[in-house]
């Protein structure tokens, strides 16, 4: 005769298994949330899980995603980059404006050079001058927006002959049935994830973000490492500008306004800590995709586009809170 204890054992996981499951859920909680929300949306709308819809969402999310890959590296290194929105405006306006003047190849080269130069300024001020990254990139946000407006004279720019330029490749073409922006996003994410996980460089960035003093004592050249993270971030912004400029074939001079905070929202949602020293690229990819699918799912269910902002408010805080609560084993803080 089975005792009550045995029955219970049969139905419930052992203590070890339970702990294992819990720690898995806490580590991959955002993935679980992602799957559940996908499932929920697919119940409400038939089109949601269709291949074309999924591809559309990923394609729309790819610009924010590409930028987020770079900013994640900066954040893992213990800093912030708020200037990416203005930088995106700058790079997009530059590449679109120069396209007709000096040809696509030169335009792209100049745009990458200028964007990396801005990244180098950020990196110099934060890496070598050791200034606070939040304020420096806030100042750069304002300064770069001003530069864009000075450069364009307040005008919007566009490409005159949109029909026959291979520049359209980056934003509009497909390779093997997959949109180029998505490919670019995937490629960047994989490369940066591999670099961060499997190379000494990646480990050094984690070390600096986790404990800067210990990192410096163990001989890591912090200045250069921080400097390089801003170059990576700038490179990603340049890639995003390529996609955006090519897709629209024109640009408003404030096209990237507000992107910095959307990018941060995706990164935070993915579970990368703003404190530095932890996080991963693929988590950021999931975070960005969640934002994209929530927007898409709510629209398909017939809600207005701003409904996603309310949902984002709730899930960002919930995601970080639950993560914290799990680590301290209490839902609420205890101080008064």
């Amino acid at each position: 005769m089975a005792s009550a204890e045995d029955v219970k054992q049969g139905f419930m996981l052992s203590k070890n298994q339970r702990a294992g499951l819990l720690s898995f859920l806490s580590a991959q909680g955002i993935l679980v949330f992602f799957l559940i929300s996908m499932l929920a949306f697919s119940l409400f709308s038939e089109q949601f899980l269709s291949q074309s819809n999924i591809m559309t969402v990923v394609r729309q999310a790819s610009i924010i995603g590409i930028i987020a890959v770079g900013v994640t590296v900066v954040i893992i290194g213990g800093n912030l980059d708020l200037s990416v929105g203005s930088m995106l405006s700058f790079s997009t306006v530059l590449v679109v404006d120069l396209h007709d003047k000096i040809g696509p190849t030169n335009a792209i080269l100049v745009m990458f050079a200028m964007t990396l130069l801005i990244g180098a300024v950020n990196g110099f001020l934060i890496g070598f001058m050791r200034l606070n990254s939040l304020i420096v990139t806030l100042a750069m946000l304002s300064a770069i927006q001003g530069l864009v407006l000075i450069y364009s004279g307040g005008q919007n720019v566009d490409i005159a002959n949109q029909g026959d330029t291979w520049f359209a490749f980056f934003g509009r073409d497909y390779v093997a049935g997959i949109a180029v922006p998505v490919l670019l996003f995937g490629l960047l994410a994989v490369i940066v994830q591999v670099v961060m996980s499997f190379t000494g460089y990646g480990r050094r960035i984690f070390a600096i973000g986790g404990n800067p003093v210990a990192a410096v004592y163990s001989g890591i050249r912090k200045n250069w490492c921080v400097f390089s993270t801003y170059l990576i971030s700038a490179f990603c912004v340049a890639c995003a500008a390529l996609v955006l400029g090519s897709r629209v074939m024109g640009s408003q001079n404030n096209v990237g306004q507000g992107y910095e905070l959307l990018v941060l929202a995706g990164i935070i949602l993915g579970g990368t800590s703003l404190l530095g020293g932890a996080g991963s690229i693929w988590k950021t990819v999931i975070g960005v995709l969640i934002l994209g699918f929530i927007q898409n799912g709510l629209l398909l269910m017939g809600y207005p586009y701003y409904a996603q902002w309310l949902v984002t408010w709730v899930i960002i805080i919930l995601a970080v809170w639950l993560d914290l609560a799990y680590k301290r084993k209490h839902l609420f803080t205890t101080h008064s």
Partner: protein, 319 residues
């Protein structure tokens, strides 16, 4: 040089930002014949009152070691409510918008206190979400003021001084005194400087932070209502990017992002510096774009000067 250093460090009674404000003031007075007039100075005060009111609350929150990115959205919500609810009566409309600001501040504060989530994340979420609330309420519409008393108020004066400027300066004085002379002000510094020590000293740090978030919410709403009286209208996108301007002003004024340091007088200087710069360059017919670049450059310069003046004396690894 040493004396200059100690002078700039705040050993003297004047803060560095005020030297800058005075220099800007003299410079523009010499460069433009229209700058130095009572009308224009009133203008500057009215123009800066919006960012100024936001910055008063932001100073408290930042001294606390927190930050509030949702002030722009809260301002937008309050402005929309103050104009949109006018059919119910002006008092109801204004009280409702101020209440909305207080409620949003309280929500932010409670979440920061109870969940322990970083204020940057909490208010980033609120910034996005409150903007959603505005769109839900307004249905993407702009509102126009139907009540003329509301619009007249924005343009009214007491003697030669505009009411908006007087409200701003009065609030500044009150907030300065609260920070300097009351227990709440002292606790605000203590919590920002060293939360653990503050907790051990018996300060209720959660409650302290909650009150400061409510203060910033209230001031954001007040700024929204006053901005709406100036425009006689509200748009759903009102207040976008204001959080960035506000943080810029507060940091210019010498308040540290890490908490524990700051002053209302410095913040007033920061706000005026931005206001005078914008106004003066306008007077000199410099396109508004250049102001953005110059502001960015000034912010970084201030940061560098601040760092050079506060080089840690302890030998060791700087990290």
């Amino acid at each position: 040089m040493t004396t200059l250093k100690s002078f700039l460090r705040g050993g003297a009674f004047i803060q560095p930002i005020w030297i800058f404000v005075i220099a800007l003031f003299v410079f523009f007075s010499l460069m433009s014949e229209y700058f130095l007039s009572l009308g224009n100075i009133n203008n500057i005060l009215v123009q800066t009152s919006t960012i100024g009111l936001l910055a008063l609350g932001m100073t408290y929150v930042m001294i606390n070691g927190n930050i509030d990115l949702s002030v722009g959205a809260t301002l937008g919500l309050a402005a929309s409510l103050a104009v949109g609810l006018q059919p119910l009566g002006l008092t109801v409309a204004v009280l409702a918008s101020l209440a909305a600001g207080i409620v949003i501040g309280a929500i932010n504060g409670l979440i920061v206190w109870k969940t322990g989530v970083n204020a940057f994340i909490v208010t980033l979420g609120a910034m996005i979400g409150v903007r959603g609330l505005i769109f839900v309420y307004t249905q993407e519409q702009s509102f126009y003021a139907s009540n003329f008393a509301f619009v007249d108020f924005g343009a009214s004066t007491i003697g030669p001084f505009p009411v908006l400027a007087i409200i701003f300066l009065a609030c500044t004085l009150i907030m300065h005194l609260v920070l300097k002379k009351t227990g709440h002000g002292r606790n605000t510094f203590a919590v920002g400087g060293n939360p653990e020590a503050a907790m051990d000293a018996g300060i209720r740090i959660g409650r302290n932070m909650l009150i400061n978030f409510i203060i910033v919410g209230f001031f954001a709403a007040l700024a929204g209502v006053l901005l709406a009286t100036q425009m006689g209208a509200s748009t759903p996108n009102l207040g976008r990017d204001y959080e960035l301007w506000t943080i810029t002003a507060v940091v210019l004024g010498g308040t540290k992002l890490t908490g524990g340091h700051g002053s209302i007088s410095g913040t007033l200087g920061g706000v005026l510096a931005i206001g005078i710069l914008r106004n003066g360059m306008n007077m000199m017919q410099v396109p508004a774009f250049y102001v953005l670049v110059i502001l960015g450059a000034i912010l970084i310069t201030v940061l560098i000067i601040d760092q050079r003046l506060n080089v840690p004396t302890a030998k060791g690894v700087r990290a």
